[in-house]
Amino acid sequence: MQVTPPRSLRELFAGFLAIGARSFGGVMPWAHRTMVEERRWMTQADFAETIGLCQFLPGPNIGNASIVLGKRWFGLAGSIVAALGLYALPFIWVLALAALYSEYAAQPTVRALVTGVGAAGAGLFIGTAVKLGRALARKPAALVLIAATFLAIAIGRLSLLFVMPAALLVAYLAARRGLL
């Protein structure tokens, strides 16, 4: 497949704006569609590799992808422009929704509806965790670490700032011994 990276900052901005504007229900499918299928900025393999890198990094995957790709194509200016393009419209959207909600927040029906949406959103997290967890289910050490993390954070309510470094060290040692 013939790929042509964006030729100008303006084109880069427009592409990421298009991703952000349409990404109801999850950004990643729209990022793929915009950059690989419609604009042909990169190949499928390149996209998968970039997302692989971004999953390894802390922070939002797609936000990190905007930084990494912007840098690759236009340096620092590219990173800034891509990130701004990505966040601009969703930021306005989310604040508009929040303002709308504030108007009606006193109504019990509205509160019940929004709480229901939140609970369903929590369910999507649980579904995601199950999906990711399936790949690890055959490794007993992984199951122990999943359970320990859950107990420490969700039940014990310990601070992630302490749990993360400690758990990462234990998990890293386990991984080096071939347990993960």
Binding site: P90, W93, T115, A122, L132, A142, A175, L180
Partner: protein, 172 residues
């Protein structure tokens, strides 16, 4: 308060492996339980709004800032949760080719996987359990959404919509 939230979110940004879902339980603990800046009900409502809006779900952090200090709060909170991770991304992406196949990097990635799964489970659990006593109706909606998501490939917005409808039926 805005300075505190900026510093705290910036620290979370550096350890947010797995993105927003991994740090949601910690955000809830800090802004609801420790500081009392946001009520447990408001937290789940802000989360719902962020999930229903388009865009990266990290925008939820911006909404928390908005609740605390309006538009400046939103900009500062979103900037704080994104910038340190962006700087790390900028820096690490240059090293990626060199270390992609390094055994230590691969071990680190394998180490992260179960922690991220445990944290995303925790995020779901904490959001669906806003009070000290679990509410079976919220667990039912969350469980139904999880099962529906695993069983189908349709846009997850449909499950959020269905969750809202169930909320109106069960909660009001």
């Amino acid at each position: 308060m805005i300075v505190e939230i900026a510093l705290y979110f910036a620290a979370l940004s550096c350890i947010a492996f797995g993105g927003l879902p991994s740090v949601v339980p910690e955000m809830q603990r800090y802004v609801v339980d420790v500081q009392g800046w946001v009520s447990a009900d408001d937290f789940i409502h802000l989360f719902a709004i962020a999930q229903a809006a388009p865009g990266p779900n990290i925008l939820f952090a911006g909404l928390v800032g908005w609740k605390l200090a309006g538009l400046p709060g939103a900009l500062v909170a979103l900037g704080a949760i994104c910038t340190p991770a962006a700087v790390i991304s900028w820096w690490v992406s240059g090293l990626w080719e060199k270390y992609k196949e390094a055994p230590r990097r691969i071990a680190l990635q394998r180490a992260m996987a179960p922690l991220v799964v445990g944290l995303i489970f925790s995020g779901g659990f904490v959001i669906a359990t806003p009070g000290p006593v679990p509410d079976w109706r919220l667990w039912l909606i969350a469980g139904a959404a999880a099962v529906a998501m695993l069983a189908s490939k349709i846009n997850p917005l449909w499950f959020l919509g269905a969750g809202g409808a169930l909320g109106v039926i069960l909660l009001s």
